[in-house]
């Protein structure tokens, strides 16, 4: 029997390491193996403990605490698992994984990310071997073309085209770069792949390096992902020791060196030319294109940049054929896509599905819908470059074209679900706050335009909105979109434009009626005590920092709106739900 604990960053944050540390001494002197795996993707159930027998998953235990280690160890030692019934995953929750189609994530939560042998046992490096011994670089590019694989970082540009351009660019010195600067707040697909299956990334990158003719490769990874860096470092070391990386890989004349460069925190570095600037040790400010990186990239040499998830699909395509990949998806979008499903969702985590499913399938069928019995309001795709999609468009299929038509974008895979308590004006303000801080400052429209938009959105949420603000925002959006050099600026208006398009009534309520329909904007909130629900316990009156609440014991209390500072303390402490926000 083998016990495997999910130790991605999320799992560890939820307490997986503590469970491991509690179990380890209890298994000393037994023939039971204790191991780790990466992110299983069911973040809502972490920490997760899997019990395997002869490679088969016997039981999946969820939300395990260190205190339960004793019960688990005893049950496994006695080979009688009935006592673990209460810890087992429910059939409903199982559906979260069973409804997915995993290609990029196929090893995540299955193999030990720190053990090369585990990867090799799962057909690891077989695709590299096939490529190096039986395929020309042109064959590889052709296979990727057949697959229809497109850049998973968000833009959806055909991967084969970029590889081909870099292959055909003049010069012997070429570079391959992996963009692992996952800066979109609300997205963690790439982190999960690196933490859970680092060799998969290395293998995909080596195949790409062979295809374009690069001998040097970099992974540019966010410094906020320390565990990903540690696991990737180990994987590089192990792969080099076994001859999968370095000189004369697998005894052929193909050589490639792979280095990690840790980013230092700048969202704009997800833009490929800014990333190159950062790799060169400079401020990450985008360059004018053309020339494209395929001609002049890192150190002005031909370079190719792809996202982590893109590389994670490559070995599967080589082993199973481009046709098999292209058989999944829609006319314009092939294969699968990984999403990080978060927000007010019942079952949040990593979801990999074939293109062509609808947003409703992902949010309601797989994610289980909104938690806490609230009503769905919108889903945000593509982070600061994307947009909010309303309930009426939930049947939109997941496809690059169809999603762009809504005003949002496919993006890298962040999917943040919002319910009726989320204010859409404040949501737009949140993203503009982000882009204002992350704008590199090179282009005037982006640098100053985002700041003006942020100020306007702030005053609307504070009840100072003026007639004409919506039109002014729209004008600014157009100016920034057309006046910015890079993707950050060009897409920064999207969160504002989509919220105006689909939730204009919320903007109007803020501006004209000084009211926040979602009840989120503090300045526009009015706290009142429901006389029928109030028991007169006096708790709220005692807690109110400005003595705005009055009333006799056991008599309904009342809030003096003139004194109220809208801190919400009364609502937090009330045990009868008598304090209402209007």
């Amino acid at each position: 029997m083998k016990i495997v604990i999910g130790e991605g960053s999320c799992g560890i944050a939820a307490g997986a390491q503590k469970v491991y540390d509690a179990l380890a001494p209890l298994l000393n002197g037994t023939d039971i193996n204790l191991g780790i795996t990466g992110c299983i993707g069911m973040c809502f159930l972490e920490p997760i403990v899997d019990l395997y027998d002869k490679g088969l998953l016997l039981k999946r235990l969820v939300k395990v605490t260190p205190e339960q280690a004793g019960v688990i160890a005893e049950a496994v030692k006695a080979n009688d698992l009935t006592a673990l019934k209460a810890l087992e995953i429910t059939d409903e929750d199982k559906g979260f994984l069973d409804k997915q189609t995993r290609i990029a994530l196929r090893h995540c939560g299955v193999i030990d990310p720190e053990d090369l042998d585990d990867y090799l046992a799962a057909d690891g490096y077989k695709a590299l071997e096939k490529v190096l011994t039986a395929m020309t670089p042109e064959d590889v590019i052709e296979e990727i073309k057949t697959s229809g694989l497109a850049g998973r970082g968000g833009a959806g540009f055909p991967t084969w085209f970029k590889w081909n351009a870099a292959r055909n660019a003049a010069g012997d010195e070429k570079y391959l770069i992996c963009n692992a600067d996952e800066g979109d707040p609300g997205a963690f697909m790439d982190r999960a792949v690196i933490e859970s299956d680092p060799h998969q990334l290395i293998e995909g990158m080596l195949i790409a390096a062979y295809a374009i003719g690069a001998k040097e490769a970099f992974v540019y990874v966010r410094a906020e992902y320390p565990l990903a860096i540690v696991r990737l470092e180990k994987a590089i070391k192990d792969a080099t020791a076994k001859g999968y990386l370095g000189n004369n890989i697998l005894g052929t004349d193909f050589s490639c060196r792979l280095r990690i460069k840790a980013g230092a925190g700048a969202f704009v570095c997800g833009e490929e030319t800014a990333l190159i600037e950062s790799l060169e040790g400079s401020r990450g400010m985008p360059r004018l294109k053309p020339p494209f990186p395929a001609e002049k990239g890192y150190e002005n040499k031909p370079s190719n940049i792809n996202n982590v998830e893109t590389f994670a699909n490559v070995s599967w395509i080589i082993l199973n054929g481009g046709q098999a990949f292209a058989a999944m998806g829609t006319e314009t979008s092939k294969g699968t896509k990984v999403f990080a499903l978060t927000g007010k969702i019942k079952r949040g985590g990593l979801v990999e599905i074939p293109m062509g499913l609808t947003l409703r399938d992902v949010i309601f069928d797989i994610g289980g819908g909104i938690r806490g019995g609230k009503r769905f309001k919108a889903v945000q795709l593509g982070g600061p470059s994307g947009g909010c999609i309303p309930e009426a468009l939930l049947d939109t299929v997941i496809d690059y074209k169809a999603l762009s038509a809504t005003g949002a974008i496919m993006g890298s895979g962040g999917m943040v679900v919002m319910d009726e308590t989320t204010c859409m004006v404040n949501m737009a303000r949140f993203f503009l706050d982000f882009t204002t801080k992350e704008s590199c400052g090179k282009c005037v429209h982006c640098r100053i335009g985002t700041k003006r938009m942020f100020e306007i959105l702030t005053r609307i949420t504070e009840g100072e909105g003026r007639p004409g603000d919506i039109e002014l925002l729209e004008e600014l959006c157009e100016a920034i979109r057309s006046g910015a050099l890079c993707g950050l600026g060009q897409t920064a208006p999207n969160p504002v434009l989509t919220t105006i398009k689909y939730f204009r009534d919320e903007y109007e309520a803020h501006i004209n009626e000084k009211r926040c329909p979602a009840g989120e904007c503090a300045a526009l909130r009015t706290y009142v005590i429901n006389k029928d629900a109030c028991k007169g316990c006096t708790l709220c009156a005692k807690k109110c920092p400005v003595s705005a609440i009055s009333g006799e014991v056991k008599q309904p209390h009342a809030i003096d709106a003139a004194k109220c500072i809208k801190c919400g303390q009364c609502k937090t402490v009330c045990r009868f739900g008598a304090v209402e926000v209007r």
Binding site: S9, C10, I12, A13, A14, C43, F44, E46, E182, G183, D184, P185, G186, A187, F188, R191, R222, A223, E224, Y225, K261, A262, G263, A264, G265, A266, F267, S278, L279, E280, G281, S282, R283, G284, E299, A340, T342, G343, K344, G348, G349, Q380, G383, G414, V416, V417, M418, T422, M427, F430, F431, F434, E438, C440
Partner: protein, 161 residues
Amino acid sequence: MCDCGKSDLTLLDGVLAEYASVRGSLITILQKAQEIYGYLPTDVLYRVAEATGSTPAKVMGVATFYTQFRLTPVGKHLIMLCKGTACHVNGADAVEKAICEELKIKDGETSDDGLFSLKTVACLGCCSLSPVMMIDEDTYGSLTPAKAVEIIRTIKGGDAA
């Protein structure tokens, strides 16, 4: 003003010997320097400029561009509070307010006793546990304002013991 002469620059020698002549290593050098000093003192920036053959302006430009770099010292414990989208939707603002009130500081400041610095960050990538914060190396998820304050008080208590 330059605080030149205050830092022990010999601590940098190893890092500079390894990276100063490797092209494109400025960010790596600054990351290592910050690990050594806890922040980037001005005299260290001058030393890095000299050793790498860059202008002080270029080094300063890089140091101020990236959010990871700090030009002032931080407290004993660094609180990184995530303000990513998922955390925002799940109430990170209320958590921030509670932390600020507890420590009597704002984002980017250090408490009077020098124990805690608060820094809000864009995304820690643990969105399913939102709202999330990291204190030093440890991640704390599913926060409420009360829970965040309790965690801070526990750490404070541990330091005093």
